[in-house]
C-alpha cells in the first residue's frame, strides 16, 4: 500500500491541483473578489474529489475491470431515471438528487462508457476486432447514452459523447475504412433523422446550430465573451481588474464562460498557460497509456485523456466563437461539481492503470 502511494504519478496530481487553483482564482474574481459563493466550494470539492480519486487509484484494478459493465449499466439507469423524472415530474432536467448531492448523470456516463469500452476491447482478441459483428456491442454502448442525452435535449454533451466514441474506437484499432463509412452513413442519415423530428424539436436544433439568430441570448454572450478575451490583450488587465465580467455582461461567467474572465484578467499569456497545462495533463494520460502492459489500462487512459481533450477544445472553441454555444464547462476551472467529479475520478482511474501497468493478466481467459 505504502509502496503504491509512493509510486503515484505526482505530476498528474500537481497539474490537477494547479489548474483547479487557477479556476478558484477565476471564481474568486467572478464573485467580485470573494470566496463566496463559488471559489470556496470549488476548493472544498477539489479536496474531497482528489481524496476519492487517490482511493480509487489504490484499489486493485481487477475490481474495476470486473465492475466495468455493471458500473456502466448503473450509470445508464441513472441517466434514464433523469429522463423519466423529466417526463413525469417537473419538466425537463439534467440533474438527479443522489444522497443529497445534485448530480448530472450525463457527465458521469462519459467515464463509464470509457470503462465499458476498455473492458470490451481487453476481452477481444486482436484478430476479432476486424470482424463486423464485434462492432455491434461498442456501438450500442455509445448509442444508448447518446440517444438519452439527445432527447434531454443536451446536444453539447451528445456531441462530446459521439466524439469520445470515435476517438476511443480509433485508439482501439478499428479499421480506418469503417470510420469513413460511418461518416458517410451519418451525413446521409441527417435528412432522414430530421424528417422524424417534431417541428418544435427542429426549431430547437436549428436555433442551436445557428445561435446568432438568437442574438439577445447566446449571440449576446458570444459578443461579450469576445470583448472580454480581446480586451485582455497580451498580459491582461490584472487580477480582479476585469471590467466586463463584473458588469454582469456575462450571465454564465462562473460556469461555461470562466475562461473569458481569465483571458481578460491574465491576457494571452494566461490563456496559453492554461492551455499548456491541459496539454501536459492530456500528454501524461497518453504516456501512461503507451506504458501500460494491458489493453484495459491502455484504452482507459487514452479514453480519459480524450475525454479531457474534448471538454477543453469544445469549451475554448465555444467561448472564442469557433463553434456554437453548446454549454460545455472547462474542466476543473468552471464551477460545477458533476464535471469536476467526473474528471478527477477518471484521472484516479488513470493513476490506477499506471500503478497496475505491469500486470500480466487481468483475467483467466
Amino acid at each position: 500500500m505504502l509502496n503504491k502511494i509512493q509510486n503515484l504519478n505526482y505530476l498528474l496530481i500537481f497539474l490537477v491541483i494547479l489548474i483547479s487553483f487557477i479556476g478558484a482564482a477565476g471564481l474568486y474574481s467572478a464573485a467580485g473578489g470573494s470566496y463566496n459563493p463559488w471559489a470556496s466550494r470549488h476548493l472544498i470539492r477539489l479536496g474531497f474529489f482528489i481524496f476519492l480519486g487517490v482511493i480509487l487509484a489504490l484499489i486493485n484494478i481487477k475490481y474495476i475491470y470486473e465492475g466495468a459493465y455493471i458500473i456502466f449499466i448503473l450509470s445508464l439507469l441513472l441517466l434514464l431515471s433523469v429522463e423519466l423524472i423529466g417526463v413525469f415530474g417537473k419538466g425537463a432536467t439534467r440533474w438527479i438528487n443522489l444522497f443529497g448531492f445534485s448530480i448530472q448523470p450525463s457527465e458521469i456516463i462519459k467515464i463509464t462508457i470509457i470503462l465499458a469500452l476498455a473492458r470490451f476491447y481487453h476481452d477481444l482478441k486482436f484478430d476479432e476486432i476486424k470482424r463486423i459483428k464485434n462492432l455491434f456491442f461498442p456501438i450500442l454502448i455509445l448509442f444508448l447514452p447518446f440517444v438519452l442525452v439527445v432527447i434531454q435535449p443536451d446536444l453539447g454533451t451528445a456531441l462530446s459523447i459521439a466524439m469520445l466514441g470515435v476517438l476511443v474506437l480509433f485508439a482501439s484499432g478499428i479499421r480506418i475504412w469503417k470510420f469513413v463509412l460511418g461518416f458517410f452513413v451519418l451525413i446521409l442519415s441527417i435528412p432522414l433523422l430530421l424528417n422524424y423530428l417534431q417541428p418544435y424539436q427542429k426549431d430547437r436544433i436549428f436555433s442551436f446550430l445557428n445561435p446568432e439568430a438568437d442574438a439577445l441570448g447566446r449571440g449576446y454572450q458570444l459578443i461579450q465573451s469576445k470583448i472580454a478575451l480581446g480586451s485582455g490583450g497580451l498580459t491582461g488587465k490584472g487580477f480582479l481588474e476585469g471590467s466586463q465580467s463584473y458588469l454582469q455582461y456575462l450571465p454564465e461567467k462562473q460556469t461555461d464562460f470562466i475562461f473569458t474572465l481569465i483571458g481578460e484578467e491574465f491576457g494571452f499569456i494566461g490563456t496559453m498557460f492554461i492551455i499548456l497545462l491541459f496539454f501536459l495533463l492530456i500528454s501524461v494520460c497518453f504516456y501512461i497509456s503507451i506504458k501500460s502492459n494491458h489493453i484495459f489500462g491502455r484504452i482507459l487512459s487514452i479514453g480519459v485523456g480524450s475525454n479531457l481533450f474534448i471538454y477543453v477544445i469544445m469549451n475554448i472553441s465555444m467561448v472564442s466563437g469557433l463553434m456554437p454555444v453548446v454549454g460545455i464547462p472547462l474542466p476543473l476551472v468552471s464551477y460545477g461539481g458533476s464535471a469536476m467529479l467526473a474528471i478527477i475520478i477518471s484521472l484516479g482511474l488513470v493513476l490506477n492503470a499506471e500503478l497496475n501497468g505491469n500486470l500480466k493478466k487481468l483475467h483467466n481467459a
Binding site: 480581446g230 483571458g263 492551455i275 481533450f309 475554448i316 466563437g321
Partner: protein, 600 residues
C-alpha cells in the same frame, strides 16, 4: 502465436496513439491561433469596445404577410403609422414644443403634464412618446412644421388593417399582443412585442404570416446613448396567404343576413370543396379591436347577448331539423328498408309506447312515398322508416355525409356537433337508447346537432352524387379529385329528384323561393328550440302566432345549383327565423342568383 498477436496489437495501438496525439496537438494549435487573433491581433478593437461602450442587439420586427381573397382583393394588410416622440435634449423648452405641437394636433392637457414630468426623470437623450398611430394627414401637418418645433422625432411603425371591416372578420380573425402562454410559442422566438393572430386564419397561419426577425447590433456608450450601428440584418416579411372566399358573395350574403338578428350562410364550390362564402351575423369590426383604446368596443361586444365573436358557421350548433331527412332517406334506401314504391300513411301523428309523435302538419299528409315525404317534409313517413332502419345505421350514413366531424381546415375552434348512436349515448349518459329517440332523431331533432359548414358539406356530397368532398379554405392551384362513395349512387339519385321537387313543384316546401334565373334544388328545415306543449298544439294556430323571438324555431335551408351538374352547395341558418321555407330558402335563392350572375 498468442504472443506475436499481442505484439502486433501493441504496435497498432502505439501507432494509433501517436496519430491521436498529433490530432490533438493540431486542435490545440487551432485554438491557440484563434486566441492569438482575438487577444493579440484584434485586441485594440476589443479594448475600445470594452472601455466605455457596450454592444446592444436590437430586434427588427418583420412585416406580417397579407391575406387575399380568391380574386386577389386584399383582406388583411399593414399600413404605415407614425409615432411622435419628443427628445428633451433637443429642445430648449419642452413646454413650448408641446404647446406648438398641440396647435397642430390636440394633445390632452393631462398627457402634456405627464410628458413634462417624465422628461425630468429620464435621460436627456431618451425619446418620450407623445402620440401613437397618427395618420398621414396629421403627419404631413407635423412634417411641414417640424423645423419650427424643436425636439420632435417621428418614427414609423406598421399597423394591421382589415379593409373590409366586418365582412370577413370571423374568418380572418385579428391580431393582438401575445399573452403570457403565447410568448412561449416557437414562432415568436425573440419578439415579445410581436402582434400575433388571435383568431381565424390569422391564428392558424401565424407561423407562415409572421416571417423572420432581423437584428442590428448597435454600439452604446456607458450612458446608453447609441454611438453607431455595427451590423444589420433585415427582417424577412411573412408569406402572403390567399383564401378561397369570394369577397363579392361574402359581402352580398352578409347584407342578406343583416336583415335578421343572427344567422349564417355557407357557399361551397362542389368541384373542389372551396368555400366561397362563409358568413356569420352578428359580426364585428376587427379594426376597432386593434385600434387602442378599444375598451368601449370590447365591452359592447362582450355585453351583446348574441355574442358577435362566435363564428356561427363552425361554432354554432343547431338541430338540423328536416335537412337531416336526406340522410335518413338514404340510409333507408341503402339498407333496403324502403324503395320508391314504399308508402306510409300520414294522419298527422303516430304513437310509440305511451307517447304521440306529431307531424308538422296537424291534419296529416295522407299517403306518402319517399319523394313526396321529402318534398312536403312529412315527419310521419320518417318516423315510420326510422323505426326499421335503427339509429346506428342512420348515424353511420350521417358520418359518411360529413356530419359530426371536425374538418381538417385551418379554422380554430370548430364545434363537432353530435350524431347520436347507441354507443354514443352509452358513453355520454351511461343510459340505453330509447326507441322514441330514434324517431326524434330521424327528423333532425333531439340529440342531433350540426354546424352550418357540416350541412353545406353534406349537401355538396349529395349534389356531387356521393363524392367524398372535403371543405377547403386556402386557395390551391392543384386539381382535387374526391373519391366517390359508390354504394350511395342509387339512393342519391332518388333524393336529388326529391330535392328538385321541394323547390320546383307546387306543394314543395320551398316552391315560393323557386328561381327562373338560377334554378336550384334543396331542402328546408325548421328546428324547434323548445318542446311544443299539448295545449299549444291544440290551439291549432301556434305556428302563426307572434311568439317571442327567442322561442321561435330556427330556419334552415340547404341546396345546390344548377340542378343538372351542380356546382354550388349552400346552407343557410337563420336563428329563430320562424320556418326554413319562409326565411332561409329566400336567402339561399338570392345567393344562388347572385353567384350565377357573377359567372356570366
Amino acid at each position: 502465436m498468442f504472443y506475436s498477436d499481442d505484439k502486433k496489437q501493441y504496435s497498432v495501438l502505439n501507432r494509433r496513439t501517436f496519430f491521436l496525439y498529433l490530432f490533438k496537438l493540431s486542435f490545440f494549435g487551432i485554438v491557440g491561433w484563434r486566441l492569438y487573433n482575438i487577444q493579440i491581433k484584434d485586441s485594440q478593437k476589443y479594448k475600445t469596445l470594452s472601455n466605455n461602450n457596450q454592444i446592444d442587439v436590437e430586434i427588427i420586427y418583420p412585416l406580417r404577410g397579407m391575406i387575399y381573397d380568391t380574386n386577389k382583393n386584399i383582406l388583411a394588410s399593414n399600413i404605415k403609422v407614425f409615432d411622435v416622440y419628443i427628445i428633451p435634449e433637443n429642445t430648449k423648452n419642452i413646454n413650448k414644443s408641446l404647446n406648438e405641437l398641440n396647435q397642430i394636433i390636440n394633445i390632452d392637457f393631462t398627457d402634456r403634464r405627464k410628458i413634462i414630468e417624465l422628461s425630468k426623470k429620464v435621460k436627456k437623450f431618451e425619446k418620450i412618446k407623445v402620440l401613437e398611430n397618427i395618420n398621414w394627414s396629421d403627419l404631413e401637418k407635423i412634417e411641414s412644421n417640424k423645423l419650427n418645433i424643436e425636439g420632435i422625432f417621428i418614427s414609423q411603425d406598421y399597423m394591421r388593417i382589415y379593409r373590409y371591416n366586418d365582412i370577413v372578420s370571423h374568418l380572418i380573425g385579428y391580431t393582438n399582443k401575445p399573452n403570457r402562454e403565447e410568448v412561449e410559442l416557437p414562432f415568436i422566438a425573440n419578439m415579445p412585442n410581436l402582434e400575433i393572430g388571435k383568431d381565424g386564419i390569422e391564428k392558424s397561419f401565424n407561423p407562415k404570416l409572421i416571417g423572420k426577425s432581423g437584428q442590428r447590433e448597435i454600439e452604446v456608450n456607458s450612458y446608453g446613448r447609441i454611438i453607431r450601428e455595427i451590423s444589420r440584418k433585415d427582417s424577412k416579411k411573412g408569406n402572403d396567404i390567399q383564401i378561397t372566399i369570394d369577397l363579392r358573395i361574402q359581402q352580398y350574403a352578409l347584407n342578406l343576413l343583416k336583415e335578421h338578428k343572427a344567422g349564417s350562410a355557407v357557399l361551397m364550390d362542389i368541384n373542389n370543396g372551396n368555400i366561397l362564402c362563409m358568413v356569420s351575423t352578428p359580426s364585428y369590426n376587427p379594426n376597432k379591436i386593434i385600434q387602442k383604446p378599444n375598451k368601449e368596443y370590447w365591452d359592447s361586444i362582450l355585453d351583446n347577448e348574441l355574442s358577435p365573436l362566435t363564428y356561427r358557421c363552425i361554432q354554432g350548433l343547431y338541430a338540423p331539423g328536416s335537412t337531416f331527412k336526406m340522410v335518413v332517406a338514404i340510409a333507408g334506401i341503402v339498407h333496403g328498408v324502403i324503395d320508391t314504391n314504399t308508402n306510409h300513411f300520414c294522419n298527422g301523428k303516430i304513437g310509440l309506447g305511451d307517447r304521440l309523435y306529431h307531424c308538422w302538419k296537424n291534419n296529416g299528409h295522407g299517403l306518402m312515398n319517399v319523394s313526396d315525404a321529402i318534398k312536403e317534409s312529412c315527419d310521419v313517413f320518417f318516423y315510420e322508416i326510422s323505426k326499421k332502419i335503427g339509429i346506428d345505421k342512420i348515424a353511420k350514413v350521417a358520418e359518411d355525409f360529413g356530419l359530426g366531424k371536425i374538418y381538417d381546415v385551418p379554422l380554430p375552434n370548430q364545434k363537432k356537433g353530435i350524431i347520436p348512436s347507441r354507443d354514443w349515448k352509452k358513453k355520454k349518459y351511461d343510459e340505453s337508447w330509447y326507441p322514441g329517440e330514434t324517431l326524434i332523431s330521424a327528423i333532425g331533432q333531439g340529440f342531433v346537432l350540426t354546424n352550418p359548414l357540416q350541412l353545406a358539406v353534406m349537401t355538396s356530397i349529395i349534389a356531387s352524387d356521393g363524392k367524398n368532398i372535403k371543405p377547403n379554405i386556402i386557395k390551391q392551384n392543384i386539381n382535387i379529385e374526391f373519391e366517390k362513395l359508390e354504394k350511395y349512387q342509387n339512393a342519391i339519385k332518388i333524393i336529388k329528384s326529391s330535392m328538385f321537387k321541394v323547390v320546383n313543384e307546387s306543394k314543395g316546401t320551398a316552391y315560393n323561393s323557386r328561381s327562373e334565373s338560377a334554378p336550384f334544388a334543396g331542402k328546408t328545415g325548421t328546428s324547434q328550440v323548445r318542446r311544443i306543449t299539448v295545449a299549444e298544439r291544440e290551439s291549432e294556430d301556434f305556428r302563426k302566432k307572434e311568439v317571442e323571438w327567442k322561442k321561435r324555431d330556427h330556419a334552415l335551408f340547404v341546396g345546390y345549383m344548377p340542378v343538372e351538374k351542380p356546382r354550388y352547395a349552400v346552407s343557410v341558418v337563420i336563428e329563430h327565423g320562424g320556418s326554413g321555407a319562409s326565411t332561409a330558402a329566400p336567402i339561399a335563392k338570392e345567393i344562388f342568383q347572385f353567384t350565377k350572375k357573377l359567372e356570366t
